[in-house]
């Protein structure tokens, strides 16, 4: 099934464990994460397209006792496809990459992305050696994924197919220094 993006994000973050840090990809995923509830542990991205997964990797390696979820769009993931190879080699057990896939570049006017053209991100993730690769088929699967963000012991990659809707923008803090310092303080305070 295809999920409504805001509802899917809300489900993923509903019972968020204290040690879960979230890196939402620029654009819609950042708006979605903020709409689900502002949090010191969200590193909202307003740019750095293609970098979300690697930001997640650096954070996951630095904080092995924390959990890190990169939640990004198909376009953002496609721009950093090589980072899946890099992450596949490192295999951090505390990192999950969740791709909200609507096959479209939403922020630029809903042009088709490569996943609309047949590129299979799940196959890419498997081919890169990511430990656990999931296609989220239904509400139960989404809830299972939400739980795995807290408990999975190997690198996780999940595709969540979303409808091509464009919910109203809700914009978080835009000052990069503030966003960075807030997340870093939360990370230093976490065990």
């Amino acid at each position: 099934m295809m999920f409504e993006r805001r509802a899917a994000m809300a489900t993923l973050l509903a019972d968020r464990p204290k040690n879960l840090f979230v890196v939402p990809g620029l654009g819609s995923c950042t708006w979605d994460a903020f709409a689900a509830g502002d949090d010191d542990r969200n590193f909202y991205l307003w740019g750095a397209m293609g970098g979300a997964a690697m930001i997640g990797l650096g954070l996951a390696l630095a904080k092995p006792n924390a959990r890190v979820a990169v939640i990004t769009g198909d376009g953002e993931m496609l721009m950093g496809l090589g980072s899946l190879a890099t992450i596949g080699v490192q295999k951090p057990g505390n990192l999950a990459i969740v791709v909200f896939d609507n096959g479209l570049y939403g922020e630029t006017g809903m042009q088709a992305s490569h996943t609309s053209g047949g590129v299979d991100l799940l196959a890419v993730a498997r081919g890169c050696g990511i430990g656990r690769v999931m296609d989220i088929e239904d509400e139960a699967g989404l809830k299972e994924l939400a739980g795995l963000l807290a408990t999975c012991s190997e690198t996780l990659f999940a595709r969540v197919r979303i409808t091509p809707d464009d919910p109203p923008r809700v914009l978080p803090e835009k000052d990069g220094v503030l966003i960075k310092d807030r997340v870093r303080r939360a990370a230093l305070a976490a065990s």
Binding site: A48, G51, G58, L59, L61, K63, A85, T86, K180
Partner: protein
Amino acid sequence: MERPLTATSDREPQPWQDQLFEVLKGADIRQVGYVPDAGHSRLIARCKADPGIRDVVLTTEEEGVAMAAGAWLGGQRSALLMQSSGVGNCVNMLSLIRACRFPMLMLVTMRGEWEEFNPWQVPMGSIVEPTLKLCDTHVAKVEQPEQVVPAVQNAIQLAFGDDRAAAVLLSQKLIGRKVWVK
């Protein structure tokens, strides 16, 4: 007549290469991202051998910029090792460093400037310094072995003390020309 091979890359590791590693260790660098590179090979080998440093092989250098940001969010210092061609691959991702004022330490081995055999290295090699400066990165260029440690120490201070990007360019004069015929 055959020219004698005298460039440093033809010989054993140079003392400055191990000193460079010790400087990074002393500065508590815990993650090192790199794309494999002959000029950095000694440093990469030392990092790989050290259990206190996580070495991360990248598919492209811009991954290392994003990783450095993540490492800092998690309380760790990192360094990015690359060849001059990699600087071009980092340009847009360095926006993340400037927009958020992340510390970013880059060590760049130069190609395309001194006794370069491969002319395809010249276009990027010749614009590394102005490119990095346009990206708001402090740049120091090192040509002599005794300059390596102070230049890297200064870059570490600038990066982690002033929350900004700082790069040290290790020139081809220092590293030696690439050996093409073995």
